[in-house]
């Protein structure tokens, strides 16, 4: 049970907004975050909040005719801090938040962009700044903010294959300028791993339920672990260090919580083995992945085969009455997180004692 070192999850600030919220992101190098949402009349909003002594204060708001769905700062440097957003119509925009204007607009997707991820903006020697978007139109496109208009990579089902709604995309394995991987989750439970260096599908599997979120524990290291969450309260943790030609990656699956859809999983920036999952019943759970003694063994054919570890739940807490659809840890301050939920609240969560784990 609980002991002295058990982390505590506390809702530090709760702020009610009168519209739907879809995503929230910390602005790098600041105590501010953006909340991306949609007004009842259908227009989209980007709001910037700042936390000051236990309160949030709205300092800017951008409203545009189309609802925004998701956003990321991943491809922007810490100085420019430009937000890339995807909207319901399939438009990718990059915003200069200081001036409240777009610096990049392109509409190559024909349907809603469900998920977006960026990387390369603030890292050094970890590849070009790039943004990946996954859309209901079945395609995944990779963008470079320096190349206008056209994606640098476009992944779509071959002609004749049915188009699946892509719900989740994430970068990873970008440990040098050449390597980079995109992992994508689809509504039918497919999880696909694309290698951008070789431009090939590296691996795929089906998780039986629609994949709501996928995330590598770190983007800028040789890929280590991958978490994928699905409907029906399940999530899978893959050890992606060791790929067996036959069995693929070792995985451990958790479906103990019976909490409905797990909307999002986020790794702690300060500790890659700890991650949080946010469930449909408004509960957040803090997990720790415990490695096995040997991460891989050699199977009877002489090929390396990964060995799954164990999952330990550190803490759980119901913080909302509705599903929590987005959460992000603060990069600069351990234990600080911002989350949005369908109860139209944006919350700043605090998790203590993470350093003790």
């Amino acid at each position: 049970m609980e002991n002295q070192d058990t982390p505590q999850i506390i809702t530090h600030i709760e702020h009610n907004l009168n519209h739907s919220l879809f995503d929230c992101k910390w602005i790098p190098c600041s105590a501010k975050f953006v909340v991306i949402g949609s007004l009842p009349k259908g227009s989209g909003t980007i709001e910037i909040f700042e936390i000051t002594s236990g309160e949030v204060r709205k300092i800017r708001e951008i409203e545009r005719p189309n609802s925004f769905k998701c956003g990321t700062f991943g491809a922007s440097s810490d100085v420019e801090r430009r937000l890339a957003t995807g909207d319901f119509k399939g438009t990718l925009e990059i915003w200069d938040l200081e001036k409240s204007t777009q610096v990049y607009i392109t509409k190559e997707h024909t349907d809603i962009i469900n998920s977006i991820d960026g990387m390369g903006g603030s890292t050094v020697n970890c590849g070009a700044p790039e943004i990946v978007t996954g859309s209901r139109d079945g395609t995944i496109k990779v963008w470079d903010p320096r190349q206008r208009g056209k994606p640098v990579v476009n992944m779509q089902p071959v002609q004749g294959e049915s188009k699946r709604d892509c719900w989740a995309v994430a970068f990873g394995n970008s440990f040098n300028d050449a390597e980079r991987i995109v992992v994508a989750g689809y509504d039918n439970g497919d999880l696909k791993m694309f290698d951008l260096r070789t431009m090939s599908l590296r691996w795929e599997c089906n998780l039986k339920n629609g994949v709501c979120c996928a995330e590598f524990d770190r983007k800028d290291i040789p890929m280590n672990k991958l978490v994928a969450t699905t409907l029906e309260g399940k999530f899978h943790v893959f050890d992606v260090r060791t790929q067996n030609p036959a069995k693929g990656f070792a995985q451990v699956m958790d479906n103990t919580t019976k909490s409905g859809t797990i909307w999002v999983a986020r790794h702690l920036p300060q500790n890659r083995d700890i991650f949080i999952t946010c469930a449909g019943n408004g509960q957040v759970s803090l997990w720790k992945y415990e490695y096995p003694e040997q991460r891989y063994r050699t199977d009877d054919k002489g090929a390396a085969c990964g060995v799954p570890g164990k999952l330990r739940r550190l803490q759980r807490m119901v913080v909302s009455t509705q599903p929590i659809n987005a959460l992000e840890w603060n990069r600069d301050h351990q234990g600080l997180a911002v989350a949005t939920a369908y109860d139209q609240y944006v919350r700043v969560l605090v998790t203590t004692k993470l350093n003790l784990q």
């Binding site: 002295q4 105590a31 440097s77 070009a128 300028d177 951008l196 600069d332 600080l336």
Partner: protein, 516 residues
């Protein structure tokens, strides 16, 4: 009890931790705000290239340096640009801080200069592409000032001088390039061109030989060399007087690369070596008229259909039997004109025209005759051939179509027509024409008969006249005979009466038929 205490302690503990955390958070917030305010400086990052543009990006990296100061299109500013000063600046920049470690700085400085020179060369190359020789020369000169031991800069500047016809400078630049790199084929070729144009053919051929030694398959060089040799043959003694070649340089080993086609220019007036095939081609000394192909752009070509001209072999040495072509349009080009055209001979693009080359015994005095490819002249030529043909090859027609085609073909050649007519058996005439005799043909026939009465003496003009009358619908045709035709007929009848002793009855009958 223990348990309760424990829980209580834990709760208190947690609250304390949380309080600490919040204090931390507040401090952090303040710090972040301060930090954020300081985040103003421009943040330059060395980013990897955009995916899929990986290949392109590389060469662009070097030239960054001077760009912001003077745009590359601002030639005036560049003209004023003081290279020495720039070099000094560069040196100072490099030497200044690192001067303690002299070896290192030297290295770095050289690197820097090289980079700079390379950049100048790139710019020069761009100018060359745009054919801006002067700008290019100044770029290369700057590059040479920066790095004195690169053959490429000299050779490139040499090319520019060559293009500007500054031949002496071109030569000396190439020589310098070759001093640095004796196997630099391009420089060799450029020098050869320069020397050739300077008139020092021997030195030029030397260079080209060297090129060929280094690159045996260099066609441009081979061609050029041949041309030079030809020239040397024609004005051998002159070449000795060639001005600027230093023999010492010539003797040096030299190398050439494939020339860009631009560089190698063929000598202005190549005098073709007259070998046997050449002779054969011009027909020199054989008393033959050679009809050469003439190349015309498509829009200037005749629209008329090509005429079929049978080619007949005539033994050499046999004099052509017939009279010169009767028509007036034969154009004979003067010999020297023909020479000027000789370039055209090379292009044998149009086979059909070539096939018209006919051999014919000409009058001995003519060695060359060029008949321009225009349709008239071609026809002229065919005329002469046709006459020959008439004598031997004509076959009597069996129907009006054959007759008409041949008749039309022989149009304008009275002799040929009379020959043709004479081989037709008069008794067959009605069956040949059936009902297809036209009045103009009839009058033509009459004219021919009248003009060449002698030829028809064997069969008798009267026989022809009578035969014509038997052609169907002749009565109608007779009505269209013109006065001149009737005059001719009268003459013919008189001839029949007097020479062929036709009886009066027959004459009267004919007169009646021809409605005289």
């Amino acid at each position: 009890m223990e348990k309760a205490f424990e829980i209580q302690k834990q709760v208190r503990d947690n609250v304390k931790t949380f309080q600490t955390y919040l204090t931390d958070l507040e401090n952090w917030e303040a710090e972040m705000k301060r930090k954020e305010a300081a985040l103003n400086g421009v943040f330059e990052q060395d980013l990897p290239p955009v995916r899929s543009k990986l290949k392109k990006e590389k060469p662009v990296v070097v030239p960054k340096k001077k760009e912001p100061r003077i745009s590359s299109f601002d030639y005036k500013s560049w003209d004023k640009f003081d290279v020495d000063k720039a070099c000094e600046d560069v040196e100072m920049e490099e030497v200044g801080p690192v001067s303690l470690d002299s070896k290192k700085s030297q290295q770095a400085k050289l690197e820097k200069l090289r980079e700079e020179a390379q950049y100048e060369k790139e710019r020069g190359n761009t100018y060359v592409k745009n054919e801006k020789w002067d700008e290019a020369i100044s770029c290369y000169s700057r590059a040479i000032e920066l790095v004195k031991d690169d053959a490429i800069y000299f050779a490139n500047r040499g090319l520019c001088y060559l293009k500007k016809d500054s031949l002496h400078q071109a030569e000396s630049d190439c020589t310098e390039a070759l001093r640095l790199d004796p196997t630099y084929v391009k420089a060799l070729q450029r020098r050869a061109t320069a020397r050739e144009r300077l008139g020092s053919l021997r030195a030029a051929s030397h260079d080209l030989n060297e090129v060929l030694r280094l690159e045996p398959h260099n066609h441009a060089a081979r061609k050029q060399l041949e041309a030079i040799k030809a020239r040397m043959g024609t004005k051998g003694s002159k070449s000795k007087a060639s001005p600027s070649t230093t023999p010492t340089i010539e003797s040096k080993p030299i190398i050439t690369a494939k020339t860009t086609p631009k560089i190698v220019e063929l000598p202005d007036e190549p005098t073709p070596v007259q070998d046997s095939t050449e002779k054969w081609r011009t027909g020199a000394g054989e008393g033959i008229t050679v009809i050469k192909t003439v190349k015309k752009p498509p829009h200037l070509r005749s629209k008329r259909p090509l005429k079929n001209i049978p080619i007949q072999e005539i033994q050499l040495g046999k004099t052509s039997p017939e009279k010169p072509p009767t028509r007036l349009k034969i154009i004979e080009l003067e010999d020297d004109l023909a020479h000027g055209d000789s370039n055209n001979n090379e292009s044998k693009s149009e086979k059909d025209k070539e096939s018209r080359i006919t051999e014919e015994k000409g009058k001995g005095d003519m060695t060359e005759k060029i008949v321009s490819g225009s349709p008239e002249s071609v026809k002229l030529n065919s005329d002469t051939i046709v006459t020959e043909k008439n004598i031997k090859n004509l076959v009597p027609p069996v129907n009006s179509v054959q007759f008409m085609s041949e008749w039309k073909y022989l149009k304008g050649k009275g002799d040929a027509r009379s020959d043709y007519l004479s081989i037709i058996d008069p008794s067959k005439i009605p069956s040949i024409f059936e009902n297809a005799l036209e009045s103009d043909v009839l009058s033509d026939v009459l004219t021919i008969l009248h003009a060449n009465v002698g030829k028809f003496s064997g069969k008798g003009v009267a026989a022809y006249l009578q035969a014509m009358c038997r052609v169907k619908r002749f009565g109608a045709l007779a009505m269209f005979l013109t006065d001149s035709d009737k005059k001719i007929l009268t003459d013919l009848l008189h001839h029949c009466k007097t020479v062929e002793k036709l009886n009066d009855e027959a004459i009267a009958d004919l007169k009646n038929k021809y409605e005289i």
